[in-house]
Each structure stands twice: as C-alpha cells, then as structure tokens.
Symmetry: C2
Subunit: 211 residues, 2 copies
Amino acid sequence: MIDAPSDGETRIVSHYPPTILELIHRIGKLPGIGEKTAERLTLHIIGASRAEVEQLAQALIAVKEKTRTCRQCFGLSDEPLCSICADPARDNGQICVVEQATDMVAIEKSGAFRGRYHILQGALAPMDGVGPENLRIAELRRRVDSGGIQEVILATSPTVAGDATAAYLARFLAGPSLKISRIACGVPMGGDLKFIDQATLKRALDGRHGI
Amino acid sequence: MIDAPSDGETRIVSHYPPTILELIHRIGKLPGIGEKTAERLTLHIIGASRAEVEQLAQALIAVKEKTRTCRQCFGLSDEPLCSICADPARDNGQICVVEQATDMVAIEKSGAFRGRYHILQGALAPMDGVGPENLRIAELRRRVDSGGIQEVILATSPTVAGDATAAYLARFLAGPSLKISRIACGVPMGGDLKFIDQATLKRALDGRHGI
C-alpha cells in the first residue's frame, strides 16, 4: 500500500521500492550529500556492474576493518607503523606536530617537509574537557626524550585552541638543545588583501620580516 | 616506499595507506563525485561507526541483488510486480508510456497521474542500432491488446529520439477505440520567456490553445 504523501520528503522518495529507498537514505546520510545526489548515485549503482558495486562495498568494510593509528605518530595507517614512520629516507631530526591526520596529509601534499610527524588527535579545549592527558602529548614527550630530535615544529591550526595547544607544548617540551618553532601565520598566497580578515592581517604584520 | 610525486594526482593521494586510497578511488568513480569529495567522504567513513558503514555496504549489495524490473511495466521493483502495478486503487484504463524508470518517478512526484505505467527502457535510435525490437514495445502492444485500456499517454522525452518513438508508437498502437495522446511541450512553469530556447518557444506557440 502506498500512503498518501504527507509531506515533501515522503512525496520525493515514496515511489521507489524499499531496497532502493534504503540505499538513497543511507547515501543521503553522508555529509554534503543531499537527497537529490543520493537519488542520482543510487540510480547509478542500480545501473553499475555487480563487480563494481561489490568492490565499493568491500572497500567500505575494509577501511573500517584495517584502518588503525600508527603506533609511533598516531596518524592513519593500515600497518602497525605508517609508511612515513617506516620510511628510512625521512629526516629523524624534525617532528612536525599536527592536530589531525588530515593536517598531516595536507602538509605532505605541499611537499615542503621531509621529517617525521606526530598527530595529537585534537587540540586543547578545557571548556569541552579536553586536557593534555586526552591528547597524544605524553607520547610526543617520550619521542622527544628518546633523543635525536633537533626541532619540533608546532603546526597546530591558527585557532584559539590550536594556538593554546602550541603555547602549552612550547613550554612543556622546552629543553636546552631543542629548537621549538611555530608555522607562520599570515596572508595566504594569492590572497587579496582587501578580502583578508583583520585577525590574519594583524598576524601578518606582527610576523613581518626584513627582505 | 613512497615514490617521488610524478604528477598532480599522485601527489594528492599518495599520503594515505592503501585501503584508504582504494576507498577514495572507488568513491571517486561515482558520477559527479570528484577526488576532493571522495577524500572527504572517505575520512567521514573512517570516523563513522562500524554499524553505519556496514549498513551502507549492505544497502549497496542489496540494491544489486534485489532490484529487478517489474514483469508488467518494466519499472524498477524488488518484487515480481512493482507497487504501482500491484496497487488496486490505480486506474487501469490509462497507460503512461515513458522511456526510463526515472521518468516514471518524476511523473509520480508530480502527483498528476493515477493510472498505470509502461517503461520502454529507451527510445528509438536507428543510428545506434536501437529499433522497436530492442524496446518493450511488443509488451506494450500485448497490454493494449488485452483490453480495458482507454488511453495511452506518450510521455517520452521531447527530444528527436523521444518524438520519433512517440510518433512510431502512435502509428503502431492506433486502433478504433483507443485514444493516444502526447504530453504537452512548451514553456516550463516559472520560465522567463527571454531565456527559453527557440525550439521550445516554437512548440509552445504551435501548441497554443483557446482560453
């Protein structure tokens, strides 16, 4: 029995069989995917080869089953040690500290860094109950204490929480032979000064350097 | 071993473990989903609950396993007979002929039709080798011949192929007691005349009716 359409959503989706509705519903739950896109993707799936759909379903399950955090840097990995930590060609003297594994990927894409990483898995947020003990700070301290590290680059986000985390780490890790640096904050490349927010402009001016 | 980035694509994706890359690759193959969106969705999947991901994977497989064409109208269904063909409340005297199951869904959403459907599964395209025998035209003929049908509404697309298919069907199905009609083609609701293409305007003028 088809019920009379009661609202907009019911009208849109009630003309498909239940299995198709279920897939539209599941795909529509993904972030940034609206109902129209979910419907379009579902119709593509119906027309796609069975092998293709099975590979997609298996890839979904495999990611949940195999993805873990690297035991050294706490980045995403499907081995106990991630490919960067396991790479003998990278510089052991520098550790770049980031909040999330995705930040590490962004820096890797830039190609500007050839050292090691440490993923904090968040930033300090006392109001939300996130203290130093909730981040991978003790593990970072152990890596620094184990020797061989010349520089720790604090690449947490230039937000209140990221800045506070960087300030905390600078104090916590401070040692006689360790250089601690913070990534520069300023006007982005190609940015039009008249559209840059005031806080960024202030940082760019404060961080000016001689040429 | 991480190879040196050779091109843009390699740079973007080579910083994830293989299982994650595989999922980004699989999601990126879906229509309208670019690499950035595939990456974003994959990171969402990694953070999602295992149950949620399994339900999505199962919904994908279920759609491929259970979706079939209705034995009467050839629309999408997960039963031998689709919900519209099985609905005793619908008008048996009218058959609306469309090219694809998605066209049927669009008409159902409009709520303007309470009869039955027939999905041709395409339109005539002699240049591409699609003749009447490749469409569900014989099956439509059988439904009309079985009696009880007062009107066949030809709702193929207003394209060259759709118009040709409608013209063919009008001749092929013609009978003394059967009304055959074609959906109106003209200016869409809310359309601004100065932005409407000339072919549509010509159709709108040709199809004018007294008020």
